[in-house]
């Protein structure tokens, strides 16, 4: 988009039902501010309190996951590229809310993440609760990352978690995650 005319971008956002999106380096204060904005927006609509808190909760978990993961990788030389790779999108699809996130993922981390997500996708609500309880007892990683976030999202999600791994280069893939409330 080389001109100042943003109508195409706006049309695209509207077409996809996107209420809010952030793409770029996440800081804790950005996560807080966007969380406040999405809650104010949802409070102004007719959405039920429980759905509002679920959308907010999934947004926070996704944004903090992206931030925590990227800050662990950031020590390397590709700091700026990695930091800028995070994205979180909140969209409305008729009566549902869709919260999605994405970030660059080191290829070596992909198999474990895929296995974890496939396991979550195979479990019903009772199975997810049992796994959540088990993981709740595991010690907290001091860098953040409780290992509980994805399980919690799967418990809240109206449909199995959807994810995709897109080819980027020799070192990275792009991880996308989609949760429906």
């Amino acid at each position: 988009m080389s001109t100042l005319d943003l109508t195409r971008l706006q049309d695209e956002l509207r077409h996809q039902g996107i209420l809010m999106s952030f793409s770029g380096p996440f800081s804790h204060s950005i996560i807080e501010e966007l969380g406040k904005a999405i809650r104010h927006y949802l409070e102004s609509t007719e959405v039920a309190g429980s759905a509002l808190m679920d959308v907010f909760a999934v947004y926070i978990e996704q944004a903090q996951n992206v931030r925590n993961y990227i800050s662990r990788l950031e020590a390397g030389p590709e700091k700026t590229r990695l930091a800028g790779s995070g994205i979180v999108v909140i969209a409305q699809d008729e009566q549902r809310y869709v919260i999605s996130s994405g970030n660059l993922l080191d290829r070596t981390d992909a198999p474990a993440l895929t296995a974890h997500l496939e396991r979550l996708r195979s479990l019903d609500k009772a199975g997810l609760k049992a796994l959540y309880k088990e993981q709740m007892r595991q010690p907290l990683n001091p860098q953040g990352g409780a290992g509980l976030g994805l399980i919690g999202m799967a418990r809240k999600s109206a449909a199995p978690l959807e994810y995709a791994l897109g080819d980027v280069d020799e070192r990275y893939v792009f991880f996308s995650l989609r949760v429906v409330i």
């Binding site: 909760a57 926070i60 309880k133 953040g144």
Partner: protein
Amino acid sequence: MDSLVIEESRSSPAIRLDAGARGLSISGESYPENAAAFYAPVFAWLKTFLAELEPAAMVRVDLAVRYLNSSSTKVMLNFLDLLEQAAQDGAQVIVNWRYDSDNESILECGQDFSEELTALTFNLVEQSQEPP
């Protein structure tokens, strides 16, 4: 022993730990940048408090959180585990988990915790939402 008071922020709860009254309260939302670091003083305080507690003393714990992120959930379980241990050792520990009627997630979270705890008394207390 001094009280520990931490004021509420957008992503961290208000904390009031009163040794004299043996009353502990946490209220608000919890998704701090680093939950382990944020709650470290709370654990330091609680461990000292419980070590100095007279046998069979009563401790009242009021938890009115509206949201816990996943790290804070683990921290809260650790917090409750310490109180559970005190209850097993003879203290009378009463936890009131307060939830808004329209916040099912936090009710579910309270239920998850209550299933993990047996010696302390864990009450799920519904409250109608405060006016904005």
